[in-house]
Symmetry: D2
Subunit: 96 residues, 4 copies
């Protein structure tokens, strides 16, 4: 886990929004798990579902990223932790 002198936190509204979306993602994964118990399931139907879940996860990521930009990245120079903020952001955006 990350440590700042003054801790940076995900804002409460985004946290709740992300949590609700991830509950949906969890339900979707459970749906695919049920599909996979059916021995007549077709490969492409599974592929469509894993792709849809990955898309929903990316939306959660976008939500958190936007909140991070707003609350922590655009203020990094004021706070004096720009280098750290940039490094961790570049790392997390790699192959996104």
């Amino acid at each position: 886990m990350h440590q700042h002198a003054c801790p940076l936190r995900l804002d409460a509204g985004t946290r709740e929004n992300a949590r609700l979306r991830l509950l949906t993602v969890k339900g979707h994964v459970e749906g695919i798990l049920r599909m996979l118990e059916d021995d007549t399931i077709y490969c492409v139907d599974v592929l469509k579902q894993t792709k849809a879940v990955a898309g929903a996860l990316n939306k959660v990521g976008d939500l958190v990223l936007r909140s991070h930009l707003k609350d922590h990245v655009v203020t990094a120079s004021e706070r004096g932790d720009s280098d750290r903020i940039i490094e961790e952001l570049m790392e997390v955006l790699k192959y996104r």
Copy 2:
């Protein structure tokens, strides 16, 4: 759901392998849900986790894709359903 004259099915071994991996994905999503109950959680720690889960989902997709190629795509010409097989594959590979 997809219908073929002779139904195409995800092979049993891959289906079980995908199911086990998706159980891990589900556990990972539950882990992020617990993170999101912590009001001191840092945005980038959430982003790292959603990215890791998306990566794990892509691995499940690769597994199923490889099985689909082997069992259904390379034999499509013999079966006579090449057009359908190609269309659904191109659709599912878009923006992958």
Copy 3:
């Protein structure tokens, strides 16, 4: 370069289509090179252009992929080179 007993080739129509699209891609890259000679250019304007070119390249890739599926992948079982066809396809689709 790849060798098959009986050589597999990109079909002439797709080859010409891909060539024309790549000429456009080249023109687009030259456009970005000119942008980069302007010392007042804004970062995000460059990012939009590199992203657009990557998108155009992916379209060329899709074109060639579709042709490959049609001419070589769906017939692999008949030809007897399924393993090789699947391996190289999985490799090229990785992180696409």
Copy 4:
């Protein structure tokens, strides 16, 4: 093109670095164009090359993104244009 009251510019070093890399990208595209004049070329060899060029373009994008974060994003709050900076960044990072 983008307009700020006080214009934001890609820094000179990054601009030159991006230009040199894009010259290489252009050379790579010309190499694929030559490949495509060969009527014995194999689809997968083209796919490998378009994928490699897309990867090189993404590296140029990363370079410019890092420079943008450092010079313009972490200072947005000080400058007072955070909303605009965030919107254009989210747009350009979409489906990256």
